[in-house]
Amino acid sequence: MELEKFSIDNKLPKYFAIATILWGVVGMLAGVLIAFQLAFPILNLDMAATTFGRVRPVHTNAVIFAFVGNGIFTAIYYSLPRLLKTKMYSKVLGNIHFWGWQLIIVAAAVTLLAGYTSGKEYAELEWPIDIAITLVWVVFGINMFGTILTRRERHLYVAIWFFIASWVTVAMLHIVNSFELPFSFMKSYSLYAGVQDALVQWWYGHNAVAFFLTTPYLGLMYYFVPKAANRPVYSYRLSIVHFWSLIFLYIWAGPHHLLYTALPEWAQSLATAFSIMLILPSWGGMLNGLFTLRGAWDKVREDPILKFFVVGVTCYGMSTFEGPMLSLKNVNAISHYSDWTVAHVHIGALGWNGFMTFGMMYWLIPRLFKTELFSKKLASTHFLIGTFGIMLYAIPMYWAAFRSYFMFKAFTPEGQLQYQFIDIVQTTVPFYIMRAVGGTIFLLGVLLMVYNLIKTAKQGSFVESEDAEAAPLTKQYVPTGKKFWHSVIERRPMLLLVMSLLVVALGGIFELIPTFLIKSNIPTIASVKPYTPLELQGRDIYIREGCYNCHSQMIRPFRYEVMRYGEYSKAGEFVYDHPFQWGSKRTGPDLARIGGKYPDSWHFNHMLDPTSMAPGSVMPKYPWLFRRDLDISSTNSKIHAMRKLGVPYEEGYESRANADLETQAKTIAQELKVSKIEISEKKEIIALIAYLQRMGKDIKGEQQVVTAVK
């Protein structure tokens, strides 16, 4: 048959590779900054944009969507044309995809630092950016499927299934979790409230880990590990089982982020069961990756690329073993809200995503520039430094998690809590320092790589496109040998797409149907009322400053938590919380029942200088809340939006809302005056105090006379 000539573009893979490394450095730099902030609060610089609560979302979003995201696109734009023997479908779409994504990243960083956040972890970006992400994702999808449909290789290699499944699942997750009602140009409220919001969020959050950080990188592994080792994957059969069972199981496991919370027991058990089953496909994938190197272990000793891949895949195995363990309720009781989760995530992010990316870069850049790697020795040094950095990061965090757990649950013989929260924070600070040093060392390794790769690029010359030729696909295809059902799917990408969507949607449907039923099944607590306008404004400040990054609002039913924070949280208490603010980590104490615990003046002084009220605190100062006037022009639209979402504010309450707001603000200002604090009732801090003083109080008043809030 006549061979067709075509040329494969190297420009976009190069762009994506540069973006990967650039955003990697930026994201890790933000990570190092926030790590040191936890130990030395002075590094918060007393400015809004540089406080922990705002920088942490920049770090997480940058690493996930900018670093790993661009890593995924590098792998896809490089491997897809080569696996399919065709050029990428459209250069224009490719360019829109590239620049669109980078623009989104910049917009994300700017808006997050400016305090525009939806308040849902790893989905913090506000609605205009959510829409932009959807559009760019669709462009990427068209480009990918266009390429697949115009291919010259009949069968889709396993890496491509992973890419397809990732694309379709991320689209589904992003859309479902981003349902929100905008009330201004950059702000919106989540469509879901409380328990429901939490379920959707962690269904998203967990599967973002699965389908953004894991499956595309498995695709990367299935392409680049065989390439670097120059031998085929260990077992192609295993890869089929690996693929289908992994995507089937992953989607069910989300609720394991909500063990011991207000989630129904059976859903927690279901998530636990599926999480444990996940070990099998995950380890199938890990072993498939490692065994690909069988008989080539001598090469691993010399080749830094293979070293990165081996440790990367091993870290994948470790964290996918750890994940199921963390889903056991008794283990989760220790790990949840602690630094253990943070360590677990970083084994995955630094070890798996980081090292796989570095391995890919060391392999790819010399090929794009038709040269040899500038220095193998430097790459090996990077490998050693990186591995050491991961260990120095993770071990102190594990240690700190157990240590703080034992301190939290320690009681005196008289039955009192032995340690104050602040005691535990203070003993954790040395571990924070070690972790920050570990992260810095990891980043130094990355800088070595940057130097090495720039030198490599300089000594070579960029190959803009590679010419190749292949025979076109024939219309009539008769499979050779025995018919194999899976080859049918591999020949029909759309079928693969639909099947993948079916498999992942199944878990989603099973999880979300009960979620939506919950709304009508939550016993309403009569004394739980909507927030007053001032409290609502205060809550939005709480979200804006990213308080949820360190404070939870979910007291678990343990003796040591109930004694420390108060009555455990009830699902019915969160019915007006758009979005929920349960949090996932306690660097500071739980706030679910902070209301009424301290006088207004305490909060005033504490927000101005936390150490004045809690010596040894690592919380940042919030001086700007005392300078800025509360923007009450938004009250009207906020109340209106909340009513639309089902919060029972009276019809026409908007017109009276600001009058109520001012009355309540005056009361708080007067209360502060009694404590000899002079401040205008117009300042933002007043609203925040109103919200803090409200939290968790509703059910305290259950036995008392219920006072109307409106």
């Binding site: 080569r82 290699y157 085929p232 089937f248 859903a267 025995k482 899976h486 080859s487």
Partner: protein, 57 residues
Amino acid sequence: MKFINYLENITGVGVYPLTSLLLFVAFFVLVTIWVIRADNGFIDHMKNIPLDNNTEH
């Protein structure tokens, strides 16, 4: 008020976890059987796609 058992009132809620488990087991068994019966030549072809040393398809 116990806060972890809201869904117990939904009739037959146990059907969710049971169905999901059965679905997965059935799915897994089918995939495994089919994979074991797969043609060796095909598997070899697939394996070698990234290494560009295959010709037929």
